[in-house]
């Protein structure tokens, strides 16, 4: 996985992609798995271990907040509240649109399946 991360970072820096090396590396690994060159069983356990401890990996960058303490003055409290509300709107809207599209697709597929049935009965 480190290997793919390096390759991803390298490709990103050469092509100046607006994505990060880690995401490019992930897409590469994804393609390689899809092609069948890497078996799922080789990395499945390691990857789920890494992902179930994702929160550990976020501790150091979060501790970095120590250098931003002076930013928290009266006016910034309002900004922070605004950002929290904005985030929650983002979260809610994404989930709602997602759910709405899921139900829409489900009913759509239902119709598609129903049409050939009607055909066969009429013929």
């Amino acid at each position: 996985m480190y290997g793919f991360y390096w390759i991803g970072t390298w490709i990103q820096s050469i092509l100046h992609l607006p994505l990060t090396g880690s995401i490019v590396g992930m897409l590469l690994l994804f393609i390689v798995i899809r092609m069948g060159w890497i078996r799922m069983s080789w990395g499945n356990e390691g990857s789920s271990w890494l992902q179930s401890h994702l929160q550990l990996l976020f501790i150091p960058p979060t501790v970095g907040i120590i250098n931003h303490f002076d930013f928290f003055t009266a006016n910034t409290i309002l900004l922070v509240v605004g950002l929290i509300l904005s985030t929650l709107v983002t979260c809610l809207l994404s989930a709602k649109i997602g759910e709405w599209l899921m139900t829409w697709k489900r009913s759509h597929r239902g119709k598609k399946e129903a049409i050939p049935c009607q055909h066969s009965s009429s013929e």
Binding site: T20, Q51, P60, V80, S86, T87, K96
Partner: protein, 230 residues
């Protein structure tokens, strides 16, 4: 050599706090006691009391942080495993994430503009729902103050994982997969970590919506900056 020993000590400190924090969270399940929050709070207090600089902590901290790259890469495994679910839900993921991203940028920048913040701060907060490494690049390229971006990304991450599930429940979102989309779109990798509680499918969807959110950010941010500042 001494930097190496300090580094090891900082890693040991972090892991030593993380393990009991995880056990505590699994027992009570209060969002406010999420391991990343409690461990960070304790470390910040220890550093402040002991007068240790952030740079010193980061001697070890950066080794842990460096695992984030490979962790994102390793998402390729669950993605392939849940390919069928993803294929079935690609339109909901794209629609939900793009819609959420646009509204997130609009509302976030409106608040900052109303409060009279300067251009570099406004641009720095636009990519708040995008995963940190991408967000920093985006803010930097658009002329924002990138050192604040990581702070704003943190705010979006934590407020999303703390209150996001509550507000989605309140709005009667029923589908576990939709929780995954909402968390990934608004709170990037932290949201993905939280969506473990909604099952493996939700994690897969949330990792895709995190990626889509990064792509949506790359597309809309320059456009939005151009609309505001011309």
């Amino acid at each position: 050599m001494s930097t190496f020993i300090i580094g090891i000590a900082m890693i040991a400190l972090t892991v030593a706090l993380y393990i009991p924090a995880t056990h505590l969270y699994q027992k009570v399940k209060w969002p406010i006691l999420m391991p990343v929050l409690t461990s960070t709070a304790v470390i910040v207090v220890i550093l402040l009391i002991a007068g240790i600089k952030l740079d010193t902590y980061m001697l070890g901290g950066k080794w842990i942080q460096d695992l984030l790259g490979p962790a994102v890469v390793s998402l390729a495994f669950p993605l392939s495993k849940h390919m069928a679910v993803l294929k079935r839900n690609i339109i909901p993921i794209l629609g939900g994430t793009f819609g959420g991203s646009i509204v997130g940028m609009f509302t976030g920048s409106s608040v900052a503009l109303l409060l009279g913040y300067p251009k570099d701060i406004v641009i720095a907060l636009l990519p708040k729902s995008v995963t940190t490494p991408v967000a920093i690049q985006l803010a930097d390229q658009a002329g924002g103050n990138a050192s604040f971006t990581s702070l704003f990304v943190m705010i979006a991450g934590f407020s999303g994982i703390l209150f996001g599930p509550l507000i989605m429940k309140w709005a009667r979102v029923k589908d576990n997969n939709a929780y995954g989309i909402g968390l990934g779109a608004a709170s990037h990798a932290l949201g993905m970590a939280r969506s473990f509680e909604y099952g493996e499918n939700a994690v897969a969807l949330s990792s895709v919506s995190m990626i889509v959110s990064a792509i949506a950010g790359s597309l809309f941010l320059p456009l939005w900056v151009w609309i505001i500042y011309g």
